[in-house]
């Protein structure tokens, strides 16, 4: 197909439609309003349905109902809106419903601001809501990758019968880049028919029940072990990351995700011209986290630098990966302030000359 110049939000919407998502339920919040706006324009063209719900709570529960029918469904929101959806997301995970949820993060806590942020890392990867469950979390760094990951997300959601979260900072939703969609696309997983879907009993098959309530403790325990087995398989099979500069010697290993990693890449390339050797591991899947890749890459470095638009939420996962084997340094901006390539370059120089303080261990 012809390459188009698209906003991230538009590309996310189009990717979903082309992945067969014909149902969208949402509620407006900046900076992701262009996703529901695009879907409200596009879904009627393909015989789909767009519903602007009365709240995020309503939208996420509509998602639950629609996903129960076996259809591909999506919602999108930004940080505070995802918090409102949290209860339903736990229900979706408990009832094993495949849905795609997009969070275009803005600064917090509370209402915060409307500018880009990555401060929902904990929420996305560790504590979205109550109960033992995990979301599969994918974090794009470009508009094209956002489109590709949304399409993969629908396959992964169906395959694992689990909600998949696309986690983008505000820039991912708002910036424009060239995007190309393939004329046709094969699913990335072998997807069995959705025999579990509640599509009508007809007296001919067992009733499909969509439910997350298990009052029998033995049954609920079995259900929890079954869910855990899925998360273990995700950790085994769905780790995604991108490595830069690992093939030559390097002193500092950067770990960064999303558009921040692009800022770091600009810095890394400029430093390489000066002969300063830096490498980067960019996690694409945040759960499962590419722990082995970070650990192995860190082994070849003198120090690790974590760069984020949050107060150090990803440091925990980096520390779990590298332990106390290497000093970890940290660079961040929050509240909608952005990190410049120059700030990354200055930080690397400070690590090299010993003037940067490492992050303290607990």
């Amino acid at each position: 197909m012809t390459k188009k110049l698209m906003k991230g939000s538009e590309a996310i919407g189009e990717a979903a439609v082309q992945a067969g998502c014909h149902l969208f339920f949402g509620y407006p919040i900046t900076p992701q309003n262009e996703i529901p706006e695009y879907m409200s324009m596009r879904l009627p063209q393909v015989g789909g349905t767009f519903v602007q719900a009365e709240s995020e709570v309503a939208a996420s529960n509509m998602l639950y109902g629609a996903a129960g029918s076996g259809e591909r469904v999506m919602t999108s929101s930004s940080s505070p809106g995802i918090s409102l959806m949290a209860e339903a997301i736990s229900y979706l995970a408990g009832a094993e419903l495949p849905v795609v949820i997009v969070n275009i993060m803005r600064g917090g806590p509370g209402l915060g601001g409307i500018l880009p942020s990555q401060s929902d890392y904990f929420q996305a990867t560790k504590g979205t809501a109550h109960g033992d469950f995990r979301l599969l979390v994918l974090a794009p760094w470009s508009v094209q990758e956002a489109a590709n990951l949304v399409q993969d997300a629908f396959d992964l959601a169906d395959y694992y019968r689990n909600p998949v979260l696309i986690l983008g900072d505000g820039l991912i939703g708002q910036m424009m880049e060239p995007v190309e969609f393939a004329d046709s696309r094969e699913p990335i997983k072998v997807l069995p028919p959705k025999t579990w879907a509640a599509t009508g009993h007809n007296g001919s098959k067992p009733r499909s029940v969509i439910n997350s309530l298990f009052l029998d403790p033995e049954e609920l325990e079995r259900h929890n072990f079954h869910l855990k087995e899925k998360y273990d398989r995700m950790e085994r099979d769905e780790v995604r990351y991108e490595a830069h500069g690992l093939d030559t010697d390097y002193d500092v290993l950067i770990v960064a995700y999303g558009t921040v990693a692009r800022v770091c890449l600009t810095a890394l390339e400029e430093l390489a011209e000066e002969g300063v050797k830096v490498a980067m591991v960019r996690p694409v899947s945040l759960f499962p986290y590419p722990s082995a890749a970070v650990r192995e890459a860190a082994a070849g470095a003198k120090a690790v630098l974590v760069v984020e638009l949050s107060m150090g939420q990803m440091i925990e996962d980096v520390r779990l990966a590298v332990g106390r084997s290497k000093p970890i340094h940290f660079l961040n901006r929050v509240g909608g302030m952005l990190i410049s390539p120059d700030a990354v370059i200055d930080k690397i120089r400070a690590i090299e000359d010993g003037s940067s303080e490492e992050v303290r261990h607990a």
Partner: protein, 236 residues
């Protein structure tokens, strides 16, 4: 072109109005013209003219846009000074209108003070944007914008590009679609915009005036210099 007292830039969402408005203002100001820019964008939350306040101030350009704590608000704020500038001013006024007919509605609310005879209104169009794939859809957008903006579109600025992946062929192909759109509407293509890199070559193959654009609106990882770490989506 650009010789009327008021230049209004309208167009679809993401067509390049802000980039062209900023370049135009900088160009006119560098030639000693007193320039005022008005940011009427109530559509997009980032990458607005107001983000370039530092750059504009440095160039002596007056900016009419929400300021202070409202600078980064997603509220439909129209600063009142725009009305007085439209009524009477000895400065060149460039108005950056928000995208689509939704954005043009703000322009419509000012129709009682827009000096139509002293105003040129140009539609910026990029045929690589999904909402305007062909001349018919671009012409339809002109009609929608005129209806709610209550101002006739007097010309087209061809701005087809794919950012860093733009080739001369892409620009010329877009210009051909712009010419067809202009025919449908019986208005001229007043200029074709292109990056500074492509502008000279473009001049040798087309008859329309070429607007050489310096990229001002960009995300932080693309910024070539002056890389402030603030919430700035423009080179400042």
């Amino acid at each position: 072109m650009f010789d009327k007292r008021v230049t209004v830039l309208v167009g679809h969402f993401g067509s390049g109005k802000t980039e062209i408005a900023l370049n135009l203002a900088m160009d006119l100001a560098s030639r000693g013209l007193p320039v005022t820019m008005a940011d009427l964008d109530v559509v997009k939350p980032y990458f607005r003219t107001r983000s370039a306040r530092g750059l504009l101030t440095e160039s002596g350009i007056e900016l009419l846009a929400p300021d202070g704590s409202n600078l980064h608000a997603d509220l439909p704020i129209i600063v009142p000074q725009i009305r007085s500038h439209l009524r009477r001013s000895d400065r060149k006024l460039i108005i950056d209108v928000g995208g689509d007919d939704v954005g043009a509605r703000v322009l419509g609310s000012l129709s009682d003070v827009v000096p139509v005879a002293e105003t040129e209104c140009f539609l910026v169009v990029n045929f690589r944007r999904p909402s305007t794939p062909d001349p018919r859809s671009a012409a339809a957008m002109v009609r929608q914008i005129e209806a709610v903006g209550r101002l006739p579109v007097t010309g087209l600025i061809s701005n087809t590009h794919l950012l860093d992946e733009t080739t001369l062929e892409i620009v010329v192909e877009g210009l051909q679609s712009a010419r067809k759109t202009a025919e449908l509407l019986d208005i001229p293509v007043v200029a074709a915009a292109a990056s500074e890199v492509l502008a000279d070559e473009l001049r040798t193959v087309i008859d329309e005036p070429v607007l050489a654009l310096r990229r001002i609106v960009m995300p932080p990882f693309d910024m070539p210099k002056h890389r402030a770490a603030g919430p700035l989506f423009v080179v400042n």
